[in-house]
């Protein structure tokens, strides 16, 4: 999927996260993770984000995640929503969302 515009999904409430997506000028995939539990869960959060992006075949874009203690399933859903919005896509390929 190709990121063509800026998007945002999620909130900064507890147990949630805010995902900001933007097109990449350099054609690279840049992921920034911010979390108050980064020391304990930073690697896990990054893994969930990168796996979700890979499932959606996103290989370029700026992804900024501000985590507020979200479960993996919430991280996956918010990243998916932000990418769908950033790609201007209304149709979901459910095979990619598992």
């Amino acid at each position: 999927m190709k990121v063509v515009k800026e998007s945002i999904a999620g909130t900064l409430e507890s147990s949630d996260l805010l995902v900001k997506v933007a097109p990449s000028n350099k054609g690279t995939l840049d992921i920034v993770i911010k979390s108050h539990v980064f020391k304990q869960f930073g690697k896990q959060i990054r893994r969930v984000v990168t796996d979700t992006l890979a499932q959606l075949s996103v290989d370029a874009g700026s992804i900024v995640v501000e985590d507020k203690g979200a479960l993996d399933c919430v991280i996956r859903a918010r990243v998916q929503a932000a990418i769908m919005r950033a790609c201007g896509s209304n149709e979901l390929d459910w095979q990619r969302l598992s």
């Binding site: 949630d16 996260l17 918010r78 929503a81 769908m84 979901l92 459910w94 969302l97």
Partner: protein
């Protein structure tokens, strides 16, 4: 017997509630994609619910997804997310007639086949929210083999009836409650009473639970976790009721052993309906 006393509403875009609702152990959790979710968040909520359905923490709880109406731009997408995510039950809001259930049934089957779920695995329930729905309740309740429950939803129904909620006896809901409940019993499915909106009014909530229980509803739709324990306690049989139920079953066993059709206990006849009620009491007590 699947207990359906408490069905907790969880807004589909509320990460906090999606992450914690299982802790409160409702009999069923209902992820809401309809009224609780704003138009701009429907897409994100749908994905949140799809992911939550697959979370191991919800494996032991009956999962229900309230989709948007099928004639909206969201309904079909919600249905895909619910069935593919593995929901146990799809709840259709604002059900006015049996044709809507027939349509839903066919669509669910299509998604089940597409995603590899066994056909018939996904159950259905209908929310009755209008005068038309109440009048057609029997046809709705019997419209599909997938139907496991119907619920009366008070707010829209009362608007449709040109009235509003009162406190106390609530005569404005009497006919709808009775009609929906009779439809459920005739169809041998479960019935849910209306949600109680004031989460700070425990006394009012328990008064309404008393009405629902006495009428014969299986339980209520709930909008706050604190209502779960109140409801479960109110629905739990008393020690005296449990003791009586055990004596009824013991008397029935003895009659069976002696080859008697009917036996009396404390001067009252113990026949199949009494035995059935005693069994239900013990099941409720065990669950509580």
């Amino acid at each position: 017997m699947k207990l359906r006393r408490s069905m907790l509403f969880v807004p589909g875009d509320n990460a906090g509630m999606l992450s914690t609702s299982f802790i409160f152990k409702p009999d069923s959790v209902m992820f809401d994609l309809e009224d609780a979710v704003g138009l701009s968040e429907k897409d994100s909520a749908r994905l949140m619910v799809f992911q939550a359905l697959r979370h191991p923490a919800y494996r032991a709880i009956e999962k229900v997804v309230r989709i948007n109406e099928l004639n909206t731009e969201f309904g079909l997408k919600d249905l895909e997310a619910a069935v593919r995510g593995g929901t146990d039950i799809v709840r259709l809001p604002k059900t006015d007639n049996a044709d809507e259930i027939h349509q839903l049934d066919a669509l669910v089957e299509r998604v089940e086949k597409a995603c590899g779920r066994p056909v018939g695995d996904t159950k259905l329930m209908a929310a009755i929210e209008s005068a038309s729905g109440v009048v057609n309740a029997v046809a709705i309740a019997t419209a599909s083999k997938r139907m496991v429950a119907i619920a009366i939803a008070g707010f829209d129904y009362l608007v449709d009836m040109h009235t509003h909620r009162s406190s106390g006896f609530e005569p404005e809901l009497f006919y709808a409650r009775a009609a929906v409940l009779h439809a459920a019993r005739a169809a041998h499915i479960d019935a849910f009473d209306v949600a109680y909106g004031d989460v700070n009014d425990d006394a009012g909530f328990l008064r309404e639970v008393g009405i629902a229980k006495l009428l014969g509803f299986n339980g209520k739709s709930l909008i706050h976790p604190k209502q779960i324990e109140l409801l479960h306690k109110a629905y739990a049989p008393s020690e005296a009721e449990v003791s009586h139920a055990k004596r009824v079953l013991a008397a029935a066993d003895e009659a069976h052993r002696k080859g008697l059709g009917v036996v009396s206990l404390d001067g009252k006849m113990v026949d199949p309906p009494v035995i059935k009620e005693a069994e239900r009491t013990l099941e409720l007590a065990q669950a509580a």
